[in-house]
């Protein structure tokens, strides 16, 4: 996918975005299938707020404030209610920074949250398994990209695999 694309090595945000975009490739190599339920829910909620706002804008433009007052009250309440639900799915600890949700063949769930801090070239990863085990790991971007800015996919696969194996050993 991004095999031929170079990433700007000077931007932590761009480095993170590249790795986030390629999480799916690494995890499918480890036998996981991505589940889009969470992201689809968020997209649906987000677009319904946009539709409410857009609809209200045109309705208000056409009929004026006084005639649309009741509708405006309903729209405002609905908008903020849906935004609240959306906020729950994006910002509460359980869902914050979640970039990947997937299942393997044994229906074991894996949730991966990733983030970076502004001035550190480090990729923070938190993996939650279906048994509720939580793995915190830090990967240096230096290990995930070569000097030219090409992404090294198999490196991330290896690192994640290593982290998962640690847990599996512990649980045995």
């Amino acid at each position: 996918m991004s095999a031929l694309k170079r990433t700007n090595l000077n931007s932590v945000v761009q480095l993170r975005t590249t790795v986030d975009d390629n999480l799916n490739t690494s995890l499918s190599a480890l036998g996981y299938n991505e589940s889009f339920t969470l992201i689809d829910t968020k997209i649906a909620l987000g677009y319904s707020t946009a539709i409410i706002a857009g609809g209200l804008y045109f309705y208000d433009k056409k009929y004026g404030f006084d005639e649309t007052f009741n509708l405006t009250v309903v729209a405002v309440l609905a908008y903020f209610a849906i935004s609240g639900i959306l906020w729950y799915y994006t910002s509460t600890p359980q869902y914050k920074n979640v970039k990947y949700v997937g299942f393997n063949d044994k229906k074991e769930k894996i949730t991966i949250a990733t983030w970076t801090s502004k001035f550190e070239p480090v990729y923070y990863v938190q993996i939650t398994t279906s048994e509720g085990q939580r793995i915190d790991a830090q990967f240096e971007f230096m290990k995930l990209f070569d000097g030219m800015g090409y992404y090294k996919e198999e490196q991330l696969t290896k690192l994640i695999k290593a982290e998962l194996e640690k847990v599996n050993k512990k649980s045995i």
Binding site: A50, T72, V73, F80
Partner: protein, 166 residues
Amino acid sequence: MKVRQQLVQFLNLAYVLSSAFMVWKALSVVTNSHSPIVVVLSGSMEPAFQRGDILFLWNRDQQAHVGDIVVYEIQGKSIPIVHRVLREHHNNEKQLLLTKGDNNAVDDLGLYAKKQGYLNQATDLVGTVKGYLPKVGYVTILLTENIYFRYGILGIMGISSLLTQE
């Protein structure tokens, strides 16, 4: 998948616009005014208000008092006018107002629509001024009246959107 990324990106843009609009509408509903915040465009209320002051309006008062500063709109003219209530007449059903700008020599009869001799408190008012911020709104006057400022700001916004990420 790529489609989802595109959808999310578009959604982020839509969110910036829709949230600002909905906050504005929420404020409208609370104050019962179609524009709860206005910028003073003329000097007719000097020295109380200068051009560029931002006014916060409230439109749930039952009656206006002489001396209140109100914002009103004349039917057919869409520019809101900020002036002080000079006289009022009321009974149980309605209240009629005559307004005047502090800095104007005469009252507003000449500004009203043809054959209109008064303002109706219930229907003509956009709101009563309850608070103000001096000078802050001058940006909007510059944006509408100064073409160099407008294109300058547009240019800066364009460049910054090219240079920033996330």
